[in-house]
Symmetry: C2
Subunit: 189 residues, 2 copies
DNA sequence: AAATATATAGACTGATTTGTCTATTACAAA
DNA sequence: TTTGTAATAGACAAATCAGTCTATATATTT
């Protein structure tokens, strides 16, 4: 059960790397098996299908994402600073991943209507992120009306998402930097 | 050369439909040939490769997109109303396409680093859209400093893009509606 | 009518796809 | 030591992938 010798873990890590860098449809299970040095039967023993492996990939990506996000926001105390920490984490994560964008949005673009289960994973992840950000924004704006704070919360979330996809297009941090400035304005000086 | 009987046009239309609804990698050329009733040799005669067909798909999608955008903005005269018309066009287009999202972002997520030419098409399209919106926003805010207007222009663009991807996730118009409200605020009452 | 260009049908290649199956090996617990 | 579990290697299936090629047929133009 220790990392390197556990076939299931090895497979998931290799699949995660390949799905992200090459795309889900462009990655065959044979390549995953070769690079993780796992037998084909083991894949179907542990995951049952490529689709299920894709779901496991999204699940682990979600855990990783929120673990990172928590780490960055917990370092700050004021709600507004926590919101800005989300943006700083985003810039950090995008750089770390060479601007390959969001694992969930990339997958969503690939699967079309062929995997409702993966789609559900993606929706849940994004809905959770939306609530996460909205909660922080609302706490940053205690004097605003619920309607106003709600709108600003969604706007911060949509700017956040916009920054992800645009940084992937331009392979640059300008979208994140613009978004951070704009959010600072929206949350007040 | 009249529509239905022109193999090249027939192929491109069928490929566009299939690439968009099924994804680029998930669509084989054989399916395109069958559904467009075109011989395989004709495809390679006119396009040379599947990659080139993908590029032609993106080119025609760009023309279509800006033709639609122009139509909606030309109907308004005040710059601010033109910006809002962009959002209205977006909502119209997303609905029309059953919330399948942006053809360019979908493709970008699929090709990873396998097609620099397609990537270039995507970058050019988005850069053009960014300039289009920024120009309208700057004209909407004549009394703002260039730096402020520039930031708001990019923010509107990023909200616009965010609305596209989020409406695809949730298959709902709430992101577009939130973005329209927020942009109204940003451009002043 | 003859010549040229374009489209069609479809065989074929060689590689790859997901998934199943058999048979063998390694290891751990009883 | 025996028994049961998990991993391995790899053959195999049936389908599909992009792309090439030959041969035939249809139009258009000169």
């Amino acid at each position: 059960m220790s990392g390197k010798s556990d076939p299931k873990q090895r497979m998931l890590e290799t699949a995660s790397r390949l799905f992200y860098t090459q795309g889900y449809n462009a990655t065959g299970i044979n390549q995953i098996l070769e690079e993780s040095k796992v037998a084909k039967a083991s894949l179907y023993q542990h995951f049952g299908s490529k689709d299920q492996l894709g779901i496991a990939y999204l699940q682990s990506a979600r855990e990783e994402w929120f673990a990172g996000l928590d780490k960055w926001t917990f370092a700050k105390h004021a709600p507004k600073q926590k919101v800005l920490a989300c943006i700083d984490f985003l810039e950090y994560a995008l750089r770390m991943n060479d601007f390959r964008g969001c694992k969930f949005l990339n997958m969503l673009a690939e699967i079309a209507d062929s995997s409702p289960l993966m789609r559900q994973q993606i929706i849940e992840h994004k809905a959770k992120l939306r609530e996460y950000i909205k909660e922080l924004v609302i706490r940053s704006l205690p004097s605003h009306s619920p309607e106003e704070a709600d709108l600003i919360g969604d706007s911060v979330y949509l700017l956040f998402e916009g920054a992800i996809v645009e940084s992937k297009i331009y392979k640059d941090t300008w979208p994140v930097k613009s978004v951070k400035k704009m959010i600072k304005n929206m949350l007040g000086e």
